[in-house]
C-alpha cells in the first residue's frame, strides 16, 4: 500500500499542472459546499448553545397580531398544555435609559426567572431574577448585559445596587450578564415581566411572546398539534375575538430568518449544482488520467495484478486529490464565514447579529466536510478506476485496436459535456439574473437623497410633553440650535425614514363609491416637517409643499406622491381633492401638492410604487420623530453636536438609532448584497468550472481522438476541416446542453421570483447561452489545435 501511495504521489508530481488543476476544481466545489453548509447550519439548524437548546421554541401568533399571542390565550394554554416543561410569556420594546450623566434607548426584555433557567444563564456579577421580583409591589430591578455595563457605567465594579432609570422609573441593578449571553437574540437589558390579565377585559389584554421548551421525547409535530387544538378550543368559546387565530411553534433561528425559505432553497440548489459540476469535472479529469494509464493497467494485469489492486491504485489518486481539496476548502470556507459575519451584521440594528450565530467552522462542519470528501473520493475515483481496469487486456496490449471500450468512453465524454453545459447554463442564468436584479435595484431612484445626512430617533416623554405646542417647541428649539452649527446645512423631521417602516392605514377619497361592502385602499402615511422635501431632495411636481399656512388649527393639508396619482387620480389633478383615514377621527385632508414617489419600507417588491401621503408635523405633532440633518461635509461630524443639543433640550429624551441615512440604505441592501455576493461567487465558480470542465472533457476526448485526427489527416483532411468537424460535433453537444439548461434556469428563476431577489430577463436567456457557446468554442479550439499541430504520422502512432 505504501509503495502504491509513493507511486501515486510520484505520478502526480510528474503531472503537477494536471494535479493542481484537479485539486483546484474540487476545492472550488468543496469550499462552496462547506461554506454554505456551515453558514446554514450555524445560523439555522444548529441548536441554541446551551443544554436543551434543541428543544427551545418560540410560540408566535398570527401576523395580524405582529406575531404575538393574547395574554389570556397564553395563560389558558400554560395551564393545560402537557407537551412543554417551560411555557413562559415575555415581551420587549425600546425604552429610554438614563443614568446620572447620560441617556440612551435600548431594546428591553421583560422576562420571568425561567427565561434564564431555560437559557442556562450564569451572571457575570450579582444574581438573576427570582419569583419575588415579579410581584407587583416588588422593587423594580434590572439585569444588564456586559455591553451596556461598559457603555453606561464604564464597567464599574461597584455596579450592583446602582440605579438605572428606565422610562424615568428607577430600577436597581442586581446582575450583569456576560457578553456572550444575549438571549433571546440581542438582549442587553432584562426586567421582570409583571404583566397580568387581572382586571383587564379580554379584548384589551396585552399581547406577549412565548418562550417554550418541549419535554424530552416530545416531537414538534405533537406539540404543535396540541397548541393548534387548544387554540381551536379557545376560538369556539371566543369566536369573534379569536376567529381563525392560531399559534405556530418555530425555533429562534427560524424566527430570525423568516420568509427566506426560497432563498435558502436557492442557495442549496446552487451549491448542489456547483458540487455536481465539480464532481463531474474531477471525475472526468481523473478518467482522462486513468485512460491514459489504460495500457499500464493492462500490462500490470497481464503480469498478474488482481483487478482490485489496480482499482485501488487508481482510486488512491482521487483520494489524495479529495483530501488536499478538503483541507484547502476548509481554509477557504473559514475565511468566507469570517467575511460573511461582518457583511451580514450590517443588516441588523447596531450591527449586532443574533448571539447564536457562529461564523466559524464547527466540529459539525469538519465532520460533514470529512464525510463529503470521502464520498467524493469514492464517487470521482470509482468510475475512472473501473473504466481503466475493466477493458479487454488483449485488445489494449495489441495496440491500436479501439473497440467497444473506446466507444463507451466516447459516449461518456459526450454525456459529460451535455451535463456540464446544462448545469452551467442553469446556474449562470440564475446567478446572473440575481446579481443583475440586485444591482438594478440598488441603482433605482428611491425618491430621496441618501448621502450627506445624519438621522436619529427621538421619543419625548409623554408625561412632560403632553401638548402639541410643547412638542413643537422642543422640535423647533433643537432645529434652531442645530442650524447654527456651521457643519449643518438643514434640519428637518419625519415620522418615518426611508427603508424603515410606515403606518399604512385605509383611506377614502371624498366622493368615491366604495360599494356596499367597502374594501378601502391602503396608503403609506408619513408625518413630516414643512421643509422635509427640500432637505431630503424630494421633488415637488405639482401644487405646493407644506408652508406656514399648514399650522395647527388650519384645514389639514396633505402632499401626495406620484405613485398615489398613478393609482388613484390618473385622469385629473388631485390638487384640492380631499381624503380621510378610515377609522380615524373623521377629519378631511386636502391635497395641496404632489411630489415624486418615495420608498419608505425595505426595498422589496413594489416599494417605490406604493402610494404615499405626507401630512404636516405642525398639524399632527408626534412625540416620536426622526430628526434628519443635512450636513455640509461628513455627516458624522455633527453627531456630537446633535447629542449635546438634544440632551440639553431634554435629558429625558435620549437619542437612539443615530446613523447616517446612507447607512439605512446599506442596511436595507445588506442581505441583498450578501446574497448577491454569494451568487456572484456561484456565478464565477460555475463559469470557471464550466470552462475547465468543457475544456477537460474536450481535451480528454481529443487525447482519445488523436489517432482519429491522424487518420483524417492521412486521408487528406486539412486542419480547418478537422477543426470544423470537431466544432460541429461539440456544437451538437453544446446545443443539447443548452436545450436542457435553459428550461432549468427558467424554472429556477420562476421558483424564486417571489423572493424579489431575481427577476426574469430575456437578455439573460440570450447572453448566458451565447457566453457558454463562446467558452465552449475556446475550450474546443485549444485542445483540437494542439492535436492538429502534430504531424499525421505521430498522431497515427499516438498511444
Amino acid at each position: 500500500m505504501l509503495a502504491d501511495l509513493m507511486y501515486t504521489l510520484r505520478s502526480m508530481s510528474r503531472n503537477l499542472k494536471f494535479s493542481l488543476l484537479t485539486v483546484f476544481v474540487m476545492t472550488t466545489g468543496l469550499a462552496l459546499f462547506i461554506f454554505i453548509y456551515s453558514f446554514l447550519h450555524n445560523t439555522l439548524t444548529s441548536p441554541l448553545p446551551f443544554a436543551g437548546g434543541d428543544r427551545v421554541r418560540l410560540i408566535q401568533g398570527m401576523q395580524v397580531d405582529y406575531f404575538l399571542v393574547r395574554m389570556n390565550d397564553y395563560e389558558e394554554m400554560k395551564s393545560k398544555l402537557s407537551s412543554f416543561d417551560t411555557f413562559d410569556a415575555y415581551s420587549n420594546g425600546t425604552r429610554n435609559l438614563m443614568t446620572s450623566d447620560r441617556s440612551m434607548r435600548e431594546n428591553t426584555y421583560y422576562v420571568s426567572p425561567t427565561f434564564f433557567e431555560v437559557s442556562d444563564a450564569k451572571p457575570l456579577l450579582g444574581r438573576l431574577l427570582n419569583e419575588k421580583d415579579l410581584e407587583p409591589a416588588a422593587e423594580p430591578v434590572a439585569i444588564i448585559g456586559e455591553s451596556l455595563w461598559q457603555r453606561l457605567y464604564a464597567s464599574d465594579a461597584d455596579i450592583l445596587g446602582k440605579k438605572l432609570r428606565v422610562n424615568n422609573v428607577p430600577h436597581t441593578i442586581v446582575g450583569v450578564m456576560p457578553q456572550a449571553y444575549r438571549f433571546p437574540q440581542t438582549g442587553n437589558l432584562w426586567l421582570p415581566f409583571k404583566q397580568s390579565t387581572a382586571g383587564v377585559a379580554r379584548a384589551s389584554a396585552p399581547f406577549v411572546k412565548i418562550l417554550a421548551r418541549t419535554k424530552p421525547g416530545i416531537t414538534d409535530e405533537k406539540a404543535q398539534a396540541e397548541l393548534t387544538q387548544m387554540m381551536s378550543d379557545i376560538e369556539q368559546r371566543f369566536p369573534k375575538l379569536n376567529a381563525d387565530k392560531t399559534v405556530n411553534m418555530i425555533t429562534y433561528q427560524e424566527a430570525a430568518s423568516q420568509n427566506q425559505e426560497e432563498l435558502i432553497l436557492a442557495m442549496k440548489l446552487c451549491v448542489a449544482l456547483v458540487m455536481l459540476l465539480a464532481c463531474i469535472n474531477t471525475g472526468n479529469l481523473l478518467l482522462s488520467r486513468a485512460l491514459e494509464k489504460n495500457k499500464e493497467s493492462a500490462i500490470r494485469s497481464a503480469l498478474g495484478a488482481p483487478r482490485l489492486k489496480l482499482v485501488v491504485q487508481v482510486m488512491l489518486e482521487s483520494a489524495i486529490i479529495c483530501l488536499a481539496s478538503g483541507i484547502f476548502a476548509c481554509m477557504i470556507a473559514a475565511w468566507g464565514l469570517d467575511i460573511s459575519l461582518t457583511e451580514l451584521s450590517k443588516m441588523f440594528r447596531g450591527s449586532e447579529a443574533p448571539f447564536w450565530w457562529q461564523f466559524d467552522l464547527t466540529s459539525s462542519s469538519f465532520i460533514v466536510a470529512g464525510i463529503v470528501t470521502l464520498v467524493l473520493a469514492v464517487v470521482t475515483g470509482a468510475l475512472p478506476a473501473l473504466m481503466s481496469t475493466g477493458g479487454d487486456i488483449n485488445s489494449v496490449l495489441r495496440d491500436g485496436t479501439r473497440g467497444a471500450q473506446s466507444k463507451v468512453s466516447s459516449y461518456l465524454s459526450q454525456l459529460i459535456v451535455v451535463i456540464e453545459v446544462a448545469l452551467s447554463c442553469a446556474l449562470l442564468i440564475l446567478a446572473t439574473s440575481m446579481v443583475l436584479t440586485v444591482y438594478n435595484k440598488s441603482k433605482m431612484d428611491f425618491g430621496v437623497e441618501f448621502d450627506g445626512y445624519l438621522s436619529a430617533r427621538i421619543t419625548l416623554p409623554r408625561s412632560e410633553y403632553n401638548s402639541d405646542s410643547k412638542i413643537m417647541n422642543y422640535f423647533r428649539s433643537v432645529e434652531q440650535e442645530l442650524e447654527s452649527n456651521p457643519n449643518v446645512e438643514a434640519v428637518s423631521y419625519t415620522r418615518n425614514l426611508p427603508f424603515t417602516w410606515t403606518l399604512t392605514p385605509e383611506f377614502m377619497m371624498e366622493g368615491a363609491d366604495y360599494g356596499k361592502d367597502p374594501q378601502y385602499p391602503l396608503v403609506e402615511y408619513v408625518t413630516v416637517a414643512r421643509d422635509y422635501f427640500e432637505t431630503m431632495g424630494v421633488k415637488l411636481l405639482e401644487g405646493r409643499a407644506f408652508d406656514a399656512r399648514d399650522k395647527a388649527g388650519s384645514p389639514l393639508a396633505a402632499v401626495v406622491t406620484q405613485s398615489f396619482i398613478n393609482r388613484y387620480s390618473k385622469d385629473e389633478s388631485p390638487i384640492g381633492k380631499r381624503f380621510k383615514l378610515v377609522g380615524g377621527d373623521d377629519q378631511w385632508f386636502t391635497i395641496v401638492g404632489v411630489v415624486n414617489s418615495v420608498a419608505h419600507v425595505f426595498p422589496y417588491g413594489d416599494t417605490i410604487t406604493r402610494p404615499s401621503v405626507f401630512v404636516s408635523l405642525e398639524q399632527n405633532p408626534g412625540s416620536t420623530m426622526n430628526i434628519v440633518i443635512k450636513a455640509k461635509g461628513d455627516p458624522n461630524l455633527v453627531r456630537e453636536s446633535l447629542s449635546q443639543v438634544t440632551f440639553k433640550a431634554e435629558p429625558n429624551a435620549p437619542l437612539f438609532n443615530v446613523r447616517t441615512v446612507a447607512r439605512l440604505k446599506e442596511r436595507a441592501f445588506a442581505d441583498y448584497n450578501f446574497i448577491s455576493g454569494i451568487f456572484v461567487i456561484f456565478a464565477i465558480a460555475s463559469t470557471v468550472l464550466a470552462f475547465s470542465g468543457i475544456y477537460g472533457v474536450v481535451a480528454n476526448m481529443m487525447v482519445q481522438k488523436t489517432q482519429e485526427v491522424g487518420i483524417r489527416k492521412a486521408l487528406g483532411a486539412d486542419d480547418a476541416q478537422v477543426l470544423i468537424h470537431f466544432l460541429i460535433k461539440n456544437g451538437k453537444l453544446l446545443l443539447a446542453g443548452l436545450v436542457i439548461g435553459i428550461p432549468i434556469g427558467y424554472v429556477l428563476i420562476n421558483m424564486l421570483e417571489d423572493t424579489d431577489l431575481v427577476t426574469m430577463s430575456v437578455g439573460i436567456f440570450v447572453m448566458i447561452p451565447l457566453g457558454i457557446t463562446l467558452i465552449s468554442l475556446l475550450a474546443v479550439i485549444s485542445p483540437v489545435g494542439r492535436t492538429l499541430k502534430m504531424e499525421p504520422i505521430l498522431a497515427l502512432r499516438y498511444e
Binding site: 495489441r398 473497440g403 489527416k713 492521412a714 486521408l715 487528406g716 483532411a717 486539412d718
Partner: protein, 245 residues
C-alpha cells in the same frame, strides 16, 4: 509506363538533444504506374519511415520527392493534405478505422474532404468500393462489430474509394491470422490486376512473394531493388554476410 514516384537522394534524420538517428540515407527510388512493390527489411531499418514519406505523412530532411511529376518536397501541411486526399490511399497494419463511424461512413471519409463531389456520387463510389472488397452487406455496421480481416477489407475499400494514384500499405496483414491475411493479400492482388499501383511494407515473406518488385532496406539504405527471384538470392547473401560479420 509512366513514373509515378521519384525519390532523389532522400534522407530522414530524427534528431534529439543527444543524438541524430539516420532513418533513411540517400534513398533513390522510382515507382512506375501499375507496379506492385514490396518494401521489406528488419525492424528499425527505415521502411515504415519511407512509406510515411511516400504518403506525405512525414517530410524528408533532405532530398527531393516527385509525385506524379510534381515536386512535393517543400509543400506545406495543407498542400500535402490535399495531395494525400487525391493521390494516395492508405492501408494500415492496425486498420485505423474510426470507431464512431459506420463502415460506409469510414469508407466515405476521404471523399468528404473533396469539394467537387456530390453526395449521390459519393454514395455510388462508396457502394462500388465496398462491393470490390465484398463488404457491402456490412455497410451499416461499426468497426467493433467486424473481425480483423473484415476491418482490413473496409480499410482497403476506404483506400481505393477515391481512385488514388497509389495505395500504400503498411504491414496490411500484421494483425491478421493466416486465413484472413491470405484473403487480404488476394484482394490486393486483384486490385493490382485491375491496374492499381501498390507499395507495401511487409515482414511476411508470403506477402512479399506476391509483389512483382521487392525493395529491401537495411540500416536506412536500399540494399536491393529487384524482382522477387533476384531478391531471394540477394537477401540470402546479405543475411549470410551479416551472420559472418
Amino acid at each position: 509506363m509512366k513514373t509515378l514516384i521519384e525519390l532523389k537522394s532522400l534522407s530522414k534524420v530524427f534528431s534529439t538533444e543527444e543524438v541524430d538517428t539516420h532513418a533513411l540515407s540517400d534513398i533513390n527510388l522510382e515507382i512506375k504506374t501499375g507496379e506492385y512493390v514490396s518494401i521489406s527489411g528488419p525492424s528499425g531499418c527505415g521502411k515504415s519511415t519511407l512509406l510515411s514519406i511516400l504518403g506525405l505523412l512525414d517530410v524528408a530532411t533532405d532530398g527531393e520527392y516527385v509525385l506524379n511529376e510534381k515536386n512535393v518536397s517543400g509543400l506545406d501541411a495543407k498542400q500535402r493534405a490535399a495531395i494525400r486526399n487525391i493521390e494516395i490511399g492508405f492501408v494500415f497494419q492496425s486498420f485505423n478505422l474510426i470507431s464512431d463511424l459506420t463502415v460506409e461512413e469510414n469508407v466515405e471519409l476521404p471523399l468528404t474532404y473533396r469539394k467537387d463531389i456530390s453526395k449521390e456520387e459519393r454514395r455510388k463510389q462508396v457502394q462500388g468500393a465496398l462491393e470490390k472488397v465484398d463488404m457491402s452487406h456490412r455497410a451499416k455496421h461499426y468497426p467493433s462489430q467486424l473481425s480483423g480481416g473484415q476491418q482490413q477489407r473496409v480499410a482497403i475499400a476506404r483506400a481505393i474509394v477515391g481512385n488514388p494514384s497509389i495505395i500504400l500499405a503498411d504491414e496490411p496483414t500484421g494483425n491478421l491470422d493466416s486465413k484472413n491475411a491470405d484473403q487480404v493479400m488476394a484482394l490486393l492482388d486483384k486490385l493490382h490486376e485491375d491496374g492499381v499501383t501498390i507499395c507495401m511494407v511487409t515482414h511476411d515473406p508470403r506477402g512479399a512473394k506476391r509483389a512483382k518488385r521487392v525493395i529491401e532496406i537495411f540500416d536506412s539504405k536500399i540494399v536491393s531493388d529487384s524482382s522477387v527471384q533476384e531478391v531471394r538470392v540477394d537477401s540470402q547473401e546479405s543475411l549470410a554476410e551479416e551472420a559472418v560479420a
